[in-house]
């Protein structure tokens, strides 16, 4: 009935012990004019499309912390199994850890069954975990892959609901990306057309949504082959400055110069080798 996996079941879900203390601290901090640190979210535009031979997944590469870009080139397409990849939007830590946990359990499951894992299995595992945490794990995922039953694409919401569709978008830029899909999607596209469509959808998110930006990553999954194109398109190249802002030597006049020698004698010398293997 149940399959064997390594992790123990820890009863209790999240511990909310510190919430009351944090709430009081936040009130005090606000009085002083500061704000408490925000969890890093991936803002994000992620999308996926099913085409003739498989699926194409796409993502932007900006990670934001409030209004600041925390990472200009983060990787949002996560490995689940050799034939299944997952894009993640929402809280960066949540998407990273959730996909790693399911990837680990899926590998054990695959060793136990002796078969290549199916996308529906990954979907079940993800939705059951997210439902258990009642939406407190802020992970919105686009799961895609190719298995013995063909190509599959799922969108998974933080509360644990899933939709199986031929094209999906998630994240703050999802409306812009969905507009592109609704205009140009056709069933059974060729690979180049599908890649162009996903690239354009992510670009729409990057240029029209403040939470998404930088480059476009693509992942093309077909039977037996995965093309992880990172970056597929550098949509936002850093420009070249028109002027030079370096000051010439001697611009700042030196008024005084004092040299204080620090007399240190070597008392003990020891060497610790690092394990560089």
């Amino acid at each position: 009935m149940a399959t064997v996996s390594v992790c123990q079941y820890y009863p209790g879900g999240f511990s909310f012990e510190n919430c009351k203390r944090n709430a009081l601290l936040e009130a005090d901090i606000n009085k002083l004019g500061f704000s408490s640190p925000a969890a890093r979210k991936t803002g994000t535009t992620i999308c996926g499309v099913v085409y003739k031979d498989g699926v194409v997944l796409g993502a932007d590469t900006r990670a934001t912390e409030g209004m600041i870009v925390a990472d200009k080139n983060c990787s949002k397409i996560h490995y689940i199994s050799p034939n299944i990849y997952c894009c993640g939007a929402g809280t960066a830590a949540d998407t990273e850890m959730t996909t790693q946990i399911i990837s680990s359990n899926l590998e054990l499951h695959s060793l136990s069954t002796g078969r290549l894992p199916r996308v529906a299995t990954a979907n079940r595992m993800l939705k059951q975990m997210l439902f258990r945490y009642q939406g407190y794990i802020g992970a919105a995922l686009v799961l895609g892959g190719v298995d013995c039953n063909g190509p599959h694409l799922y969108s998974i919401y933080p509360h644990g609901s899933t939709d199986k569709l031929p094209y999906v978008t998630m994240g703050s830029g999802s409306l812009a990306a969905m507009a592109v899909f609704e205009d140009r999607y056709r069933p059974n596209m060729e690979e180049e057309e599908a890649k162009r469509l996903v690239r354009d959808a992510i670009a729409a998110g990057i240029f029209n949504d403040l939470g998404s930006g930088s480059n476009i990553d693509l992942c093309v999954i077909t039977k037996g082959k995965v093309d992880y194109l990172r970056p597929h398109d550098v949509a936002n190249k850093k420009g070249v400055k028109t002027g030079s802002y370096r000051y010439k030597h001697g611009t700042t006049g030196v008024l005084t110069k004092t040299v204080t020698p620090l007399n240190l004698e070597v008392v003990e010398e020891s060497v610790q080798t690092m394990d560089t293997s």
Partner: protein
């Protein structure tokens, strides 16, 4: 996944702690409003919905719209809310998408197991009871309105409704979801006992179209299913083929 028992709804443990919190009044709640992340990235996915089921002599007709919303955004415009629970038993889901999907998966497992133990087709009433047990036990944590319909050899076509709160009752015709409020009058005045299969299909399609016209959370296409001794027949009525009532 390890430690996860199939057929059981896993949510009690984590939720219990959340309900014990008391925040001071001047402090923001967990979901901060941030203009960078619009409302629909933070709202839960709901099936909005209009769902309906009608009994006729020899089976049942079940129908639903196809819209799933997160706030004001339509997350899925072609949802299939008629979920198979067993070979001749379907359920219509309304309320929270996550809750109803999880409940349906758990009941599908439990009913499949029960059917193998019995070595015969399960009763529709059994399926409805399983839904009722789960929806009543976890009534504080769940938001799910479900209509169970099917055919079994003992009692023929039956419709049971399990609304929010966990009541279960058998009805010859049942409507549910946010769009149902707009069609109670139409359903009460147009339903007659002893309708044929075709009349039931026309009745259901008409009622759903009217609800979808007026309710913002319902729309898309109309999905219909007929369950009888022969099995399940499914149809889709696309937006432009829906019956028209108003010429305005």
């Amino acid at each position: 996944m390890c430690g996860l028992l199939p057929g059981v709804l896993h949510l009690r443990s984590s939720f219990k702690m959340a309900t014990a919190l008391q925040f001071p009044a001047n402090v923001s709640t967990l979901n901060n409003y941030n203009e960078l992340y619009p409302d629909w990235t933070q709202r839960e996915v709901s099936t909005g919905t209009t769902i309906m089921a009608v009994e006729f002599d020899g089976g049942v007709v079940m129908g639903a719209d196809s819209r799933t919303t997160t706030g004001a955004y339509i997350a899925n415009r072609v949802t299939d809310k008629l979920t198979p629970i067993h070979e001749r038993i379907l359920c219509c889901r309304s309320g929270s998408a996550a809750d109803t999907q999880a409940i349906a998966d758990a009941v599908t497992y439990q009913l499949g197991f029960h059917s193998i133990e019995l070595d015969e087709a399960p009763l529709v009433q059994t399926a409805a009871s399983l839904f009722r047990d789960m929806c009543y036990r976890y009534r504080e944590e769940l938001m799910a309105g479900i209509i169970v319909g099917g055919w079994d050899p003992r009692r023929g076509g039956q419709v049971y409704t399990v609304p929010v709160g966990g009541m279960m009752t058998r009805q010859p015709v049942s409507v549910g979801g946010s769009g149902s409020s707009y069609i109670y009058g139409y359903v009460d005045s147009n339903y007659r006992p002893g309708m044929s299969k075709e009349e039931c299909l026309k009745f259901t399609a008409g009622a759903l179209s009217l609800a979808m016209e007026r309710d913002g959370s319902s729309g898309g296409v109309v999905r219909l299913a007929v369950i009888s001794e022969q099995g399940v027949e499914r149809q889709v009525i696309l937006g432009n083929q829906l019956p028209k009532f108003s010429t305005v």
